[in-house]
Amino acid sequence: MAADLEYTSFELMAVTGARELKDGEIVAVGLGLPVVASFLAKRTHAPNLTILLELGVVDPEPIDIGSGLSDPRFWYRAKMHTSFADMLGMVLHKGLVDVGFLGGLEVDAYGNLNTTQLGDPKGKFRRFTGSGGGNDLASCARRTVIIIRHDSRKLKEAVSFITSPGYLRGNGERASVGLTGGPARVITDKAVFGFDPESKRMMLQAIHPNTTLEDVLSNMAFEPIVPSDVVVTEPPTAEQLRLIREEIDPDRLYAGS
């Protein structure tokens, strides 16, 4: 039955992201796919999810999904309007955020993220967004979920600039700089990855339907750990697709991209 459904890779990633969230958890979101994933989780298996926006919004129920954190469409019907000091300080820094979604220019084999610049930091480089709340989520959330396009220019052995730390160079290095938590999952448009419990190197977990292992590996600039029990990503259900298309993002502001 599910095999008959047509869906985009965005929709599959959003559904996969939603599955990472458990009922009763606190999630911090920013722009794009994580927003769709979080609202989808809340309308399905996680009705008691608390959604936070770093600039000071608790549990909004937008009717227009908006163009980003600073768009007041995204703040509609919130339970509280507050501040960075509250959201990122008294909630995140205190250790109460369960999941933070992160995206970036490039991620490496140990889940370190670069959202700052591409090129040689001491020579010629192109500058991008920088951290915003990204570094804070990567440092203080109980776990993070990284969403990134599956491309060998984006999946690197080592990133050129660590904006948001993952497991640094692996094996306990994250703990040695005083950080707990860390990336739990990496979701791309071809696969889902976790991290090896010991080495903390990225480990393939699932391959999306209609994709091959070769396609996944040949579009990465490093070799992830490939265990023998790699599964196929569970496709979206008809109800999940209906919610995304009709209720969460009816104008295809995100899902169309």
Binding site: L31, L53, E54, L55, G56, V57, S67, G68, L69, S70, D71, P72, R73, W75, Y76, H81, T82, S83, F84, A85, L88, G89, L92, H93, T115, T116, P121, F125, R126, R127, F128, T129, G130, S131, G132, G133, G134, N135, D136, S139, C140, F161, I162, T163, S164, P165, L168, E173, R174, V177, G178, L179, L253
Partner: protein
């Protein structure tokens, strides 16, 4: 005491070389009219601090008014990067003290509380910290927790010379309401030596006294009050007006090149005498009516 004044006088009170904390976040409550007037008056060598960069910071950087930026990064969201800031960093012509949203907030909070430093979990293990460690005089350090013996990263407080905060409602004394999410505006205002309030609506002190729980910045911290409707255009002011998507797209496009940005300044900043001239140029009352917020939606 009334502190009501003109935008021109409020800007003139800020000397060249000052450290100015700005209230915008991407495309929300950006102090645009303030940026325009600062550029027209030629105030420069500013240090600008902001948690997440807004378009007013981008414009001030593009116009060459800023020597140093202290910020947590940022973009306009879906409409793209702050081209002027990115270009200035790439060209090495902007001194950059780059942090994250929370570390900026903590530095303002430490400034507001009068603390000598503030510990933080963020930044550890990152290249953001590696860059900050190169700065002289230092802005980061390490201390040992006297209770547990743990080592902590600590940040230097921010104490801006002036905070310029775009608000919805204020009275002549500067008692100001910020409606909707307020990111780090309260900490910025309270860390700063003084605050300039730019308000959409001017009300009596009696009106403030009837809903004092909405006051975020009390008048005693405020040096100047400027009453100027649509002073954040093309950014949004929650509950008052929406962001102007078309004008932001126009700015985004123009600011992609130095020539395009100069053309924008010549037209919309240098080409007009004041905020009213700018308002006329961007569509006047009829355009502003379109942007007016619905009281239920807030946008």
């Amino acid at each position: 005491m009334s502190k009501l004044t003109t935008l021109s006088e409020a800007v003139a009170s800020i000397p060249t070389g000052s450290h100015v904390a700005l209230s915008g976040f991407a495309t929300a409550r950006c102090a645009m009219a303030f940026a325009h007037e600062t550029i027209r008056q030629g105030t420069n060598r500013l240090t600008v601090s902001q948690c997440v960069a807004g378009i007013e910071a981008d414009m001030l950087v593009g116009a060459g008014a800023v020597e140093r930026i202290v910020y947590g990064g940022g973009s306009r969201g879906r409409s793209g990067q702050h081209h002027c800031i990115c270009r200035a960093i790439e060209q090495g012509i902007l001194i950059t003290e780059e942090l994250s949203s929370l570390s900026m907030t903590f530095r303002n909070l430490a400034g507001a509380l009068g603390l000598p430093f503030i510990p933080i979990r963020s930044l550890n293990g990152s290249d953001i910290l590696n860059q900050l460690m190169q700065l002289n005089p230092p802005v980061v350090g390490r201390v040992t927790d006297p209770f547990t013996g743990d080592e902590w990263l600590v940040l230097k407080p921010l104490i801006p010379d002036v905070a310029v905060i775009q608000v919805q409602v204020a009275d002549e004394e500067g008692n100001a309401w910020i409606l909707g999410p307020r990111w780090d505006n309260e900490e910025q205002a309270k860390a700063s030596k003084r605050t300039v309030v730019i308000t959409e609506r001017l009300v009596s002190t009696e009106a403030i006294r009837r809903a004092p729980e909405q006051t975020v910045i009390p008048g005693f911290r405020v040096s100047h009050v400027v009453h100027l409707p649509f002073a954040a255009h093309p950014s949004s002011v929650y509950g008052v007006y929406d962001f102007d998507e078309e004008h932001i797209a126009l700015y985004a496009d123009a600011s992609k090149t130095p020539q395009g940005f100069q053309g924008y300044l010549d037209n919309y900043v240098y080409g007009v005498k004041d905020h009213w001239g700018y308002m006329e140029l961007v569509g006047g009352m009829s355009r502003m009516k379109d942007l007016e917020a619905d009281p239920v939606l807030g946008y």
